[in-house]
Amino acid sequence: MLPALRPPPSAASAVPYTYCSPPRAVPARPKYRAPLEADEPQKEPARWANLMYDRRVVRGNTYARQAVPTCIHHPNAFEIQRQREARRKALARKRAEEQIQLRTPEPVEGREHVHVQTELYLEEISDRIIEVDVECQTDAFLDRPPTPFFVPAKTGRDVATQIEEGELFDFDIEVKPILEVLVGKTIEQALLEVMEEEELAKLLAHQRAYAELRNAELAEVQRLEEQDRRYREEKERCKQQQMEMLQKEKETMEKIAAQAFAKRYLTDLIPSVFNNLHESGFFYDPIERDIETEFLPWLMTEVEETLEKKTLGRVMLDSLIRTVTEKRLDVFSQKPLPDQVEAPAEEHRPTDNAPQVAAETEAADQAVTADEETDQPAAEDQASHHITFQSEEANQEAMEDSETD
């Protein structure tokens, strides 16, 4: 079988052209033909490819010749049909001719008239070869007539074979893997998609469950936080209260302690206060006070006056004596009698010292003139001061005595 690549010819005859006598180079020919006798019985094998001598080439007018000689080869249906048509036409023609022509006499008994065409194998033998000049002009509009259907000669043995059902393959078994693949792939794809959806749905459900749990827990956490906050505040408040209470207790205790201490401290207070007051003279006997404040100072002042008078007197006396003695001294200094003057001066002085006290006290009564003297008034003042101090001391002693009483 030829490969299927060559496109089949569109003409009626499907057999491609093959050479029965492939073209050959002209062989060396003998100059003279071989004697004819030897040739007749045999047909030489075709050594030439000359058209003129080719049996198969139709000589004469090819246009009129329509009846293709019956081939010994297998014609195809088209050829058969054409042959049939040609036969029909020939018959028709013959009938027409017969009608015009004289008919041949009827066959004798036992014989039959048969139309025989003997032209097939007729060959005109002559030395002179009929040469006819034929011109040929290809007709532009005429299609190439279809090549004759050439079937190569049958060689070899005919062998026929027929494929029965079930011999080649079992469709059901063969189709199974293909079907499995097809259906399997489809179902696999479908399953994948469905599984994806399911997976998503499960994931969403899982997420929702998780979200719900989380929300619940979050709410719980917040509630616990609130609770915790409240407890803490409660605790703080309790603690505060407790602290305040403790504080107050402490204060109260301190107060009590302070009070007790104060009380104890102050129990002594009043007596001591009274004591102090008493001692500092707030509670006084009015008569005593009266005596002390009024009488005694008066007494003292009186005494003082008296003593001052006395002192003054003495001072006066002293001054008098002094002036006198000075005068006398002056007088006596004018006269040289120192012994008597000094002696009486010395005598006067010690004697002055003795009665000075009495004199001063007497002079104190007449205090005015003592100021003129420089020495003696100073001494007298000092003396008087001494005396007053002494007198005051005496007064104070007297007063204290009176107080302690």
Binding site: F169, E196, N215, A216, L218, A219
Partner: protein, 305 residues
């Protein structure tokens, strides 16, 4: 009968909208190159192929390793809407896996996503919000979103966007506000959330209640919630949907754990709780055990306040 010859033709192209994927390890680098090509069709085809590949977590890991996210960041601001839509979808699928989320944080993708919040295409915005929602579930992601200043923008968009995007925004907000509520309070989120509490859709009511729950975990939020929202939450306790009831109970739970200030509505909802069927939360589909904690907990909290 099948012949043993391997066909010289390429296998039939089943889907011409996707770029052909190279074998094994080379798939992602090749797509990375194609994404940077100047031709729009190549980029789109590469993005479609990448979108399929990224469902596998190993590919996500590889993509993050070879630095895909930089390219995707530049593509986020592309002029073509299909490119943007596919890029945001890819980022969403990557964000569904932890490796992808970590990659998104490290490559600072969230500030770029801020630009896309105003995208004219609905699907782009929806994908963007989905990405933000997934990122917010991670604590570092939530912090990232807070740092990018997205909270005021999201709160504003609550009023304007469609319902599904609102659900996503509310989810994002609830996860972010767990960290820090001051920004949201500054933009007066409570008023908007109060409207959402009366929305016809149960999911939106549920999520709005959850956002209020998260606001209530912070002390400054508690006072705001206490003043304004308690009556609404109490009315939600009698809602038909058990999840809404659970979320409302949770929000109340947090609102009542308050320092010093007693809620005046305390007695009010104690009464309503006795009347409403608070103890039947065991019907809640997700978690029968924990949703019933909430009423216990907030009753306990209320009794302390």
């Amino acid at each position: 009968m099948a012949s043993t010859l391997i066909s010289a033709k390429l296998p039939p192209d089943v889907d011409p909208t996707k770029a052909p994927i190279a074998f094994g390890r080379r798939a992602l680098p090749k797509l990375s190159r194609e994404i940077q090509s100047p031709e729009l069709l190549t980029q789109q085809r590469a993005l479609m192929a990448l979108c399929d590949l990224v469902h596998d977590p190993e590919n996500v890991y590889q993509a993050v390793q070879i630095g895909f996210l930089e390219n995707l960041k530049t593509l986020l601001l592309h002029h073509d809407s299909t490119v943007r839509q596919k890029t945001t979808e890819i980022l969403y699928i990557m964000a569904m896996h932890n490796v992808g989320r970590q990659g998104l944080i490290q490559n600072a993708v969230i500030p770029v996503l801020t630009e896309l919040l105003d995208d004219p295409e609905d699907i782009c915005r929806k994908n963007t919000h989905q990405v933000l929602d997934m990122m917010a579930k991670l604590p570092e992601g939530a912090v990232d979103i807070l740092h990018a200043g997205l909270i005021p923008l999201l709160v504003v968009r609550l009023k304007t966007e469609s319902d599904e995007i609102q659900e996503l925004i509310l989810g994002t907000l609830s996860n972010c506000l767990r960290m820090e509520a001051s920004e949201a309070l500054a933009t007066d989120a409570i008023t908007i959330l109060k409207e959402k509490l009366t929305h016809p859709s149960a999911t939106i009511r549920n999520k709005a209640a959850q956002v209020i729950l998260e606001i209530g975990t912070h002390p400054e939020g508690k006072s705001t919630v206490c003043e304004e929202v308690i009556p609404l939450l109490v009315s939600l306790l009698e809602d038909t949907d058990p999840e809404v009831q659970a979320s409302a109970a949770g929000a109340l739970m947090f609102a009542t754990i308050k320092p010093k200030v007693c809620c005046t509505g305390g007695e009010h909802f104690l009464y309503t709780s006795r009347h409403s069927d608070t103890w039947s939360y065991s019907e809640s589909p997700v978690l029968p055990s924990t949703t019933s904690w909430k009423p216990f907990l907030w009753l306990e909290a209320v009794s302390h306040s």
